[in-house]
Symmetry: C2
Subunit: 330 residues, 2 copies
């Protein structure tokens, strides 16, 4: 099991990436981590990370894509950047999976450029596991495909259901189409045609439950909710911003009412905040590429990176891709 | 000042509507409420509502649109329903404003059908005031226009800014375009072309601040954020569902940690929940129609209806529409 890690990705440089690699190596005896980075930049961090030298390799690159850089421009100007080299390793089958906490748009763009998609997959998509009142559910696509067609969304339902079954342990996932109403005829052409594709589908790795409204996502009305990338990305980021706003407001309310001191209040609401943090879930997989790809949050610490590496390894060992291909009739 | 009220709208029938009317009449001496409803249905509730008979009228209708009915079908089958009659009163200038807690899709569809738009307005949109870390901001459109063009979104920026200035008291509102990244070139054609229209606009009733990401909405990065109706509706409903999920989780966390009893916990988190409830803001205006239209939440109680009526009256007395027309150069 070989996982390539973008050692330069994320907000905090190489340190959390190498700490995460060391932690994942300790947990998974069959794992080898291939860190892609500039040797000079990694060098100062290598000793303190306590890496198992037998199962850790460095593959050199030239530069990296900044978190705020425009992906297409950055990838053109830095053809040997860490992301590009990481994906090259996957395309050449030198690794089974890739993990990055770097610029999400650039991770996706560099990956799609390799055109190494699973054969029946039209367009890969980002699947994000979200916490709900009922457990966990998957939202797909969250931004990989800005020009989704009904057939793409239909495939996301199938792909997401396989992921939910294999990784989230939901035996027969309920699949829904995100819409602005639950009645027939509501919404735009894209969701209407997607809805028809699901209704007329022969066999699915789950049960199609129809339209799901925005408020149904966190109520757990479906285990897999499909939407086009723009909408999914907005849902994800609105949730992130709203959670910060809301939890701060609750914390201040508790302090203001004299119920808790500032420290205890932050601890209490922070515990809830962590439930839907990327750290716990190990990031969002880009599903549909030939190989596993986990995108970790830019703010990932060592634990989050370790979880992302483990999540990537789990996808490989469970052959999620093989089952996606089978479910799509490939 | 005459406001037509859909007395049959909402989840709880005539009672909260009539209580709200009575409360609004007590607060606004120049107000007359025209309640649209089936006289037989309203009758049992009239006495207890303590309405000022000199400033309260009933206009009869036949039937109403259920909260789960498909708007187009319902409006075709019930041409004399409360919503249709309410909008007819506005179109005939018998009232200055309309208020309904009914089926949002039907309120909008019945309104758009009258084609009584402000002259320069291409398509009316729903503006929703949201709470943010920085105060309040407006999201527009939240579902009235499912086929938005760049010019529509541009107009929503202008219209929303006038609303934010006049009703939220923000002197020079910052206008942003909702997108999935803040760099140039991100997102789809709709947001790209909208962005260009704002950048090349001669004069605006505010300052254009460029792209705003999902997480920026609740951080208050803009005072007015424009998006197409599908996206806005999803943002709104995701927020609603997420807030319920998150606040319940915090409440359970507080109880579990032994910090508060179940009742106090619910009271504390409920206080935060109320901040972004429709009740406080009086509902969402459908802006761009000739006359004021406030859409209250289906679950509105008497106070919420009273606030919606007052909000409608404020839009009329401040001549928000006149200023929208002026800002659009009409």
């Amino acid at each position: 099991m070989r996982v390539a890690l973008d050692a330069l990705g994320g907000d905090h440089g190489p340190a959390p990436n190498l700490q995460g690699a060391a932690s994942a190596l300790r947990g998974l005896p069959d794992l080898t981590v291939v860190a892609v980075g500039e040797p000079g930049t990694l060098e100062p961090h290598l000793a303190s990370a306590e890496l198992d030298a037998d199962r850790f390799e460095v593959v050199p690159c030239v530069g990296s894509v900044g978190m705020d850089e425009k992906p297409t421009v950055a990838l053109r100007e830095k053809p040997e950047c860490s992301l590009a080299v990481m994906w090259k390793l996957l395309a050449e089958k030198q690794v089974d999976a890739v993990v990055s906490a770097g610029n999400t748009g650039a991770v996706v763009a560099a990956g799609l450029r390799t055109r190494q998609f699973l054969k029946p997959v039209k367009r890969p998509g980002i699947a994000v596991p979200l916490p709900t009142s009922a457990g966990r559910s998957v939202l797909m696509d969250c931004g990989a495909n800005p020009h989704a067609k009904p057939e793409h969304l239909f495939q996301y339902g199938v792909i997401g259901a396989v992921y939910a079954r294999e990784i989230l342990g939901i035996e027969r996932p309920r699949i829904g189409t995100l819409n602005i109403g639950s009645e027939e005829g509501k919404g735009n052409e894209l969701v209407g045609e997607t809805h028809e594709l699901f209704k007329s589908a022969g066999s699915l790795p789950g049960e199609y439950v129809g339209y799901v409204e925005g408020r149904g996502i966190y109520h757990g009305e479906a285990d897999v909710t499909v939407c086009e990338g723009f909408v999914g990305n907005v849902v994800l980021k609105v949730s992130e911003g709203f959670a910060q706003y809301l939890l701060r407001a609750v914390g201040e309310g508790l302090v203001g009412a004299g119920v808790l001191g500032p420290e205890d209040a932050m601890k209490t609401v922070g515990g809830v905040g962590r439930r839907f943090a990327y750290q716990a879930t190990g990031g969002a997989p880009l599903l549909g590429v030939d190989g596993a790809c986990l995108i970790a949050h830019g703010s990932s610490d060592g634990d989050a990176i370790a979880n992302a590496i483990k999540a990537a390894a789990e996808m490989v060992s469970k052959d999620v891709n093989g089952q996606i291909v089978a479910a799509l009739g490939g």
